[in-house]
């Protein structure tokens, strides 16, 4: 069978070589389109695809008409308003804690506006960049009032409900080690299931970001039956995520956030934004007038700032509309002028 084997190998080599020359072109041709320039891709698509939570009151949750409501959802609208001048040109894609990064990496969504903590390892190894921290949060615990627990230090031996694949899970094990508190985790991915396990009493405590706890608490029939413990065990800067190496689009997302902050700082609201083109303050005039020239530097329309504020209001208005009703105070998310952490670089 020698001749057969030889000719077989040779022919196989030829075929492989031929295909090898043809296919790399194919493979290389389509990769960058998805990855490199999201800004142009979004503009030519005419729609922003925004990755949001699967349903977290105050942040992103569809209302009875199926319209997405909440802080994160409004950020999606703000970015769409900046790019298209039309806040409705958004498609919301609900993502679980586990699939969110894959959804962004693979190009299924353009931007993640979804309670995602900015950490070093995520920034470096997940192929994404964090554009701006739009909500400063921290991890806490919620227990049933009937349990009689007043401090997280009393949770020795407790069963704690936690979502997998989150920084929450890792903070929890760090915290338990640091404080020598032993606990039993119950780890379920879906938010509804994990909250269900906490409510049914399978867990003594439920841990996630304090904002998430407040959202869950407010959604219960009797919020007073649940107590958020005073300890905050971590820093959770919740940030807007974009793909890595996508600087132009990251700029648009980042400056949309800064615009919302500056608008609040200068007292520009949804109601008075139209009058700001003739404002005596130079920076405000630059931002909101037709010939300020800042929009085109970002590749956006001249009146992008007006469009954004008209669509969603300033940061304070947005916060009061979405998060205040579920009992979240401004806290560290107040403007720097009132002692908070939210600070915008100058619009110049």
């Amino acid at each position: 069978m020698q001749p057969f084997g030889l000719s077989f190998a040779r022919a196989l080599g030829t075929v492989a070589l031929g295909l090898g020359l043809v296919l790399p072109g194919l493979a290389r041709a389509q990769a960058p389109a998805g990855a490199a320039n999201t800004f142009d891709a979004v503009k030519s698509r005419g729609q922003l695809v925004c990755g949001v939570n699967t349903g977290l009151a105050g942040f992103a949750q569809p209302d009875s008409q199926g319209v997405w409501r909440g802080f994160d959802a409004e950020y999606c609208r703000a970015i769409a308003a900046a790019i298209f001048g039309d806040a409705t040109k958004v498609r919301f894609v609900p993502t679980t804690a586990q699939v969110r990064f894959t959804a962004l990496q693979s190009g299924e969504v353009d931007v993640l506006s979804r309670n995602t903590t900015w950490t070093l390892s995520r920034d470096t190894s997940l192929g994404l960049d964090f554009a701006a921290t739009n909500f400063f949060d921290g991890q806490g615990f919620m227990v049933k009032t009937s349990l009689g627990v007043k401090s997280a230090k009393e949770l020795e031996g407790a069963t704690i409900c936690v979502q997998p694949g989150t920084t929450t899970e890792q903070n929890l094990s760090d915290w338990s080690r640091a404080n020598r508190i032993k606990f039993t985790p119950v780890v379920i991915e879906r938010l509804e299931e994990i909250v269900g396990a906490y409510i049914s009493g399978r867990c003594d405590a439920y841990t996630t970001d304090v904002s998430g706890l407040a959202a869950t608490r407010s959604a219960q029939p009797k919020p007073d039956d649940h107590l958020i413990l005073p300890e905050v065990i971590s820093k959770e800067p919740l940030a807007l995520g974009v793909r890595q190496g996508d600087a132009r689009f990251a700029d648009v997302v980042r400056w949309t956030h800064f615009l919302l902050l500056s608008a609040e700082e200068f007292g520009v609201t949804q109601a008075n934004v139209d009058k700001m083109a003739n404002d005596p303050r130079p920076e405000v005039k630059r931002m909101f007038s037709k010939d300020g020239g800042l929009g085109p530097m970002l590749g956006l329309p001249e009146l992008w700032a007006v469009n954004v504020v008209k669509a969603v209001g300033n940061y304070g208005e947005l916060f009061d509309r979405t998060l205040k009703p579920i009992g979240i105070q401004r806290g560290p998310n107040a403007l720097w002028t009132t002692g908070g952490l939210q600070y915008s670089p100058p619009f110049r």
């Binding site: 090898g20 990769a31 997940l126 031996g157 997998p164 890595q244």
Partner: protein, 400 residues
Amino acid sequence: MSQTTIDPRSLRAPPRRPLRLSWSDERVRAIVWQVLVVGVIGAIVWWLWSNTVHNLEVRRIATGFGFLGREAGLPIAESLIEYSPTDTYLRALTVGLLNTLKVAVVGIVLATILGTVIGIARLSKNWLLAKIAAVYVEVIRDLPLLLQLLFWYALLQGLPGPRQALNPVQGVFLSNRGLKLPWIEWQDAHSFALIAFLLGAAGTWLYRRAAIAKRMQDGRPRAVWPVAVGAMLVLPVAVWAALGAPWVVDWPALRGFNFRGGLNMSPEYFALLLGLTLYTAGFIAEIVRAGILAVPGGQWEAAQALGLHPGQVLRQIVLPQALRVIVPPMTSQYLNITKNSSLAVAIGYQDIVSIANTTLNQTGQAIEGIAIIMLVYLTISLSISFFMNWYNARIALVER
């Protein structure tokens, strides 16, 4: 089978022709087609591979299995081996693998027992028993497994909290934290007793084989049970007693929020085991029923005519023949139970899928994570297939 006989077919084989480089040559055509098919498949695989690697590079996503040595930091509720969040991802994944095996192996044993009982019950002459078995099979088979798992989990969550736990017998507590049982404090003497038991079981099996072989020669039945009791009960107890007979019971007790001590079966594990067992037993029951019905009625009658009592007929005549029909589809059910255990994710049992998912989420290395999951299931499934195929060949009809 003598060596001197020449196979006449080799004499009739056509003479070998030289290979002509022409389309009309059958062998040339065959080679060209095979090269094309293999080449196309190879090129597709290569293309997928290079495209993936390139895209990962463009998106600056880390690759490789280096993350396995890093600290996992993820808490795991139940583990067969020592584990703490400071251990590596590799150890966390090992814990997940063992958790998958724990539910799959126990599930396979329980589903086989339950399925066989229900399958036989469905053929029973007792009308009520047969109908109950039939209803069970129809109901269980027709509902999606995920739904059943969520149902059992919700049911177990409905149990009272640990402070109001049901306490039917001293030391046994049933609450929404799981089932707590008293357990002995494991010492070396117990391990040696267990080894003695396993040796005794092997010895009993060898004795039984020898006894059957002797019976084949002289026709006299020999009792196996005295040897079994001696080797599997008296010997381990003697070993245990000789090593000081340690006996300290670890009673579960409510301290703080939860029970401490004793043996724990979590609601997650219990719900998954219950769901998988009941679901798969429904299918196994039908396989067993089909296997028994496949044995011709004449076999029953012939066996009875020889004077065997009904139990003997079932054990010695019918079941060995039914097994030949039962084993191949049974293999599929064992594979199903293993793969279906991945639904554990939905109810929070930390099996290999759950832990690999968390790992890939924390490290961002989805392709490596999925590859690990696939490798684990492939290995387990091939092992089951291999064993069942070996068993099937062993019990196959020996044609004389």
